[in-house]
């Protein structure tokens, strides 16, 4: 397919997207997904699939509200979750149901366990501080799959390698906005330099709290959290687990020193036992 990104007069349409912040090379960029204005249109899912040539992930009926995608996977790099909650809120009085919609994506963690455990160096951090798999290197060992605290990255069936959101690395290198953010009609998915996005999110959460939306919370904006803050963070209207997100994700490699120390001690224990039992009691 062809992406039309030039107007008839040759102007670059992608750079005219409303609210697209300018960013420099070698500046950390990311997503701020404001789920309070997500309308569940799945344009992000479609745009991502089209731009990145992501294969079909099945024609499924999951009976989960409007969510027939299910979850992020090797073949789904944006996933819109649909939650239906009973409510007494007068605005939803007619249906008695509150809708929560949220477009999930790879978090591009500051402390990315997937990248840290990758034994081949296939996963790397780009100049934009995003986390990307080099498909010509990955040998499908699957370690990153078990390391990710969000269940984002997975092995592609029939291909054997692992795949996930690249934050449109190719588009970033071309100075463009990632496909999902560009396709989002409500600016629920905002792309830009992470610092700017954090400021914008802080203002937005304050506004929502002022409006009485007390449950609104930022998720992944804190550099002090277990993964050092997300490169792609969220504004949620309920607890993270309601959306299928872990409430307090931690990068497993934070405990690596403990683990290596325990293993070193056990290794010497093994050596000691072997020496004592095999060489210790010579009688003859």
């Amino acid at each position: 397919m062809t992406i039309i990104d030039r107007g008839s007069d040759g102007t670059d349409l992608t750079l005219q997207g409303i609210g697209t912040p300018r960013y420099d090379r070698e500046q950390r960029v990311g997503f701020f997904t404001d789920t309070s204005i997500c309308i569940g249109c799945k344009a992000c899912e479609v745009a991502c699939k089209e731009w990145n040539d992501v294969p079909a992930d099945g024609l499924n009926f999951l009976a989960r509200s409007y969510d027939n995608t299910g979850h992020l996977s090797a073949d789904t790099w944006r996933h819109v979750a649909f939650v239906e909650q009973p409510t007494t809120d007068p605005e939803s009085a007619r249906s008695g149901v509150r809708w929560l919609m949220s477009s999930d994506v790879c978090k591009h963690c500051t402390s990315a366990a997937c990248l840290e455990v990758c034994p081949t160096g296939a996963l790397f951090r780009t100049e934009f501080e995003t986390v990307v798999v080099q498909q010509d290197i990955c040998n499908g060992c699957g370690y990153c799959v078990s390391a990710c605290p969000f269940g984002v990255i997975d092995q592609r069936k029939g291909d054997g390698r692992v795949w996930k959101c690249t934050l449109c690395y190719d588009r970033l290198r071309g100075g463009q906005t990632p496909a999902c953010a560009q396709a989002c009609p409500t600016q629920s998915i905002q792309f830009g330099p992470l610092e700017q996005l954090r400021e914008r999110a802080a203002a937005r959460i304050e506004a929502l709290h002022d409006q009485g939306v007390d449950d609104a919370q930022l998720y992944g904006d804190d550099p002090g959290d277990g993964v050092g803050g997300f490169g792609a963070f969220f504004l949620l209207l309920d607890k993270p687990e309601v959306y299928g997100l872990p409430p307090d994700p931690v990068s497993t490699t934070r405990d690596l020193r403990t683990m290596f120390n325990a293993a070193t001690a056990a290794a010497f224990g093994l050596l000691g036992i072997a020496a004592a039992t095999l060489l210790g009691q010579r009688r003859g």
Partner: protein, 328 residues
């Protein structure tokens, strides 16, 4: 409204992806430990001057490590790219560290085995024997690392039943490898009986018994630690519950039974060295090996089970954020 006692989830869907690793990885955990344990028996026999047992142990080590390499490559999504593991040395990746441990171990053990064969086909003993000895003792010194890095490999994941067991897993694996090595030593010396007047004859038996005791003891400590990580759920109150149903439960129970009876049999049979007790010790050794293998499969499957239920992921994290005392 009464607050929901169970941690919430998105349509009961798991948060984590289950490990992509299949049975060859669980099998490797066992064969890798077996190779490591057997290398120690071989080196001890070599140092003791028992060239027959040392040679047999060398062959067993090479078989175990060869099968291990097969398992590891078999499980890759792109097998033809197995050598990409050797592109980097990466201290933050236990799999990278393990690859190098595995490579060094198998190179040393391989050099030893080749030199030993070389001696038989005419290479002068003064050339072959030092290589055989240095390779065998060298691999035995790397062996303990080979046996325990796999514990870090499992623990350094988001898999709740593995990560929360991070302090105990290395001891379980060390015990398991020790028991396996001792058991293999018993079997090898059953095939080629040692001189019973030689104190070394009882070495593998002691090693198997002490190893099995460590394995069972560390396993118990691990289960206790997992039971201490609460989820706040009524049906699955803690991460230890990953071991209380389905295949992990059966495997863990069978592992414990096999290791205990195997070690007891070996200990009893070792009191007197006669042909009949030798066979009994061999039977005990087989049980110890079965116990070690079952233990690895139990841990492997419990880890997988702990990823497929969101309770094990969400529960402890939610309690960490909001301790029970502070809940409304």
């Amino acid at each position: 409204m009464v607050p929901d006692a169970t941690p919430m989830s998105y349509y009961g869907q798991p948060i984590l992806k289950p490990p992509t690793w299949k049975w060859p990885i669980a099998a490797y955990l066992f064969t890798g430990g077996l190779a490591a344990g057997t290398s120690l028996v071989g080196a001890a026999a070599r140092l003791h001057g028992d060239r027959r047992l040392a040679g047999a142990a060398s062959a067993a080590t090479m078989s175990a490590i060869g099968v291990s390499a097969g398992f590891l490559i078999e499980d890759l999504g792109r097998r033809s790219r197995f050598h990409h593991m050797l592109r980097v040395v990466k201290i933050t990746s236990p799999m990278s560290v393990g690859t190098w441990i595995f490579s060094i171990f198998s190179s040393l053990a391989g050099a030893s085995a080749v030199a030993e064969i070389g001696e038989k086909v005419g290479v002068p003993a003064r050339v072959a024997r030092p290589v055989t000895a240095v390779g065998q003792v060298g691999s035995a010194l790397v062996g303990p690392a080979l046996a325990t890095y796999t514990a870090v490999l499992l623990a350094d994941t988001a898999v709740p039943a593995w990560h929360e067991a991070r302090r105990d897993l290395p001891w379980v694996f060390a015990g398991s490898a020790t028991a396996s090595g001792g058991a293999m030593g018993i079997l090898l010396s059953t095939l080629a009986p040692l001189d019973p007047s030689d104190g070394f004859a009882s070495g593998p038996r002691r090693m198997a018994v002490v190893g099995a005791a460590l394995e069972v003891g560390a396993d118990e400590a691990m289960h206790r630690r997992l039971r201490a990580v609460a989820t706040g759920d009524t049906d699955k109150p803690d991460i230890g519950a990953a071991y209380t149903s389905g295949s992990p439960r059966v495997l863990a129970g069978a592992a414990r039974a096999a290791s205990v009876t195997g070690a007891a049999t070996v200990a009893l049979a070792g009191r007197r060295d006669r042909p009949r007790t030798r066979l009994l010790a061999a039977a005990g050794a087989l049980l110890v090996l079965a116990g070690a293998a079952l233990e690895r499969f139990a841990i492997f499957h419990a880890g997988k089970a702990s990823t497929t239920d969101p309770v094990y992921t969400v529960g402890p994290q939610r309690l960490r954020l909001v301790p029970p005392a502070r809940r409304p």
